[in-house]
């Protein structure tokens, strides 16, 4: 991988958090991203090894496999090699999206917990799930109670916003993953108007459209990974 490759998910720190208020297994998502990231070099290693062997087999050197069958094999392998590299790119994209989701959720969770801590110090009751506790009804009996009610109302908004933002980042990640899935899905499961039907993940599909809908893509193209 070149210098433009994204950093591995393990090197991206999650914001600190102690509870599980926004939902989801944030550490589990990061572990999954790391796991997926590890599959990329393993995948390209196999492709590279086979590419080398296929090249030796069909070389122009004396004793190399030549003729129409050799040409057919070379063309067939060439497609496979690119498909393998493209699959590695897809796995890398899923890793990035999953890792990005973990980071985003950790930041929201961290912000919510920080706000909850501040609100609690001003007398706001925080429930085990992070929600603000029940508020007394009626006008405040004192200025101190009025201030507490203001803090509670403010935290209520923070809590709602955090939940909404967590839902939004999940939705974005799900949409990105769905976009990737559309590139590798079997033809009968692809949405209408999508890429052309084929039994295989094909080179042109994954190279030209595999990155559609995925932002912050900085990784190398499959061709670069394959050294082609």
């Amino acid at each position: 991988m070149g210098s433009t490759a994204n950093p591995p998910p393990a090197s991206v720190s999650l914001a600190p958090f102690a509870f599980d208020w926004v939902g989801g297994d944030i550490h589990g998502l990061q572990m999954l991203a790391i796991q997926l990231h590890g599959y990329v070099p393993a995948t390209t290693d196999v492709t590279t090894a086979l590419d080398r062997r296929a090249g030796q087999l069909t070389s122009d050197d004396p004793g190399g496999w030549q003729g129409s069958a050799a040409s057919a094999f070379a063309a067939s392998w060439s497609r496979d090699a690119l498909a393998g590299g493209a699959l590695a790119a897809v796995i890398g994209q899923v890793s990035e999206i999953t890792g990005g989701l973990a980071v985003a959720l950790s930041e929201i969770e961290n912000a919510l917990e920080t706000q909850a801590d501040t609100a609690a110090r001003h007398g706001v009751q925080i429930m085990p799930d992070g929600q603000p506790g029940p508020q007394p009804e009626g006008p405040p009996a004192s200025t101190a109670e009025a201030a507490q009610q203001q803090w509670a109302a403010s935290y209520q908004q923070v809590w709602q916003r955090a939940r909404a933002e967590a839902g939004q980042v999940r939705q974005q990640a799900a949409a990105q993953l769905a976009g990737i899935y559309q590139q590798i899905a079997p033809p009968h499961k692809r949405s209408p108007g999508g890429i052309s039907a084929s039994e295989d993940i094909t080179v042109s599909e994954l190279l030209t459209q595999g990155r559609r809908g995925v932002h912050q893509q900085q990784g190398g193209l499959p061709r670069q990974m394959l050294g082609l």
Binding site: L50, R53, L57, W65, D80, A173
Partner: protein, 90 residues
């Protein structure tokens, strides 16, 4: 020698072995049991993760698809049958 048969059989057999081995390695890279235990925090994200995982695994299991040498039933071409047992020329 006819077109398509300019090949050293041992090389082809070795290459076929390499392809089978590497195809097995490729298929084993991603475990079939995916991120079902990882909760993204919602059904939509969980479904999307699951789809991507399962499809990626399926792709690794069927790759490389179009290389003849990786087919389990593939064997290098054998000598034509009916070869005279006694050489015609001594």
């Amino acid at each position: 020698m006819s077109d398509g048969f300019q090949v050293i059989m041992t090389d082809l057999q070795q290459a076929a072995g390499v392809f089978r081995t590497e195809a097995g390695t490729f298929a084993a890279i991603m475990p079939a049991t995916g991120p079902v235990s990882v909760d993204g925090g919602g059904a939509e994200i969980n479904d999307a993760l699951s789809w991507c995982w399962r499809r990626s695994v399926a792709c690794t299991r069927s790759w490389p698809r179009s290389s003849v040498a990786t087919r389990t039933n593939w064997r290098p071409p054998t000598a034509p049958t009916g070869t005279p047992k006694t050489p015609l020329l001594r």
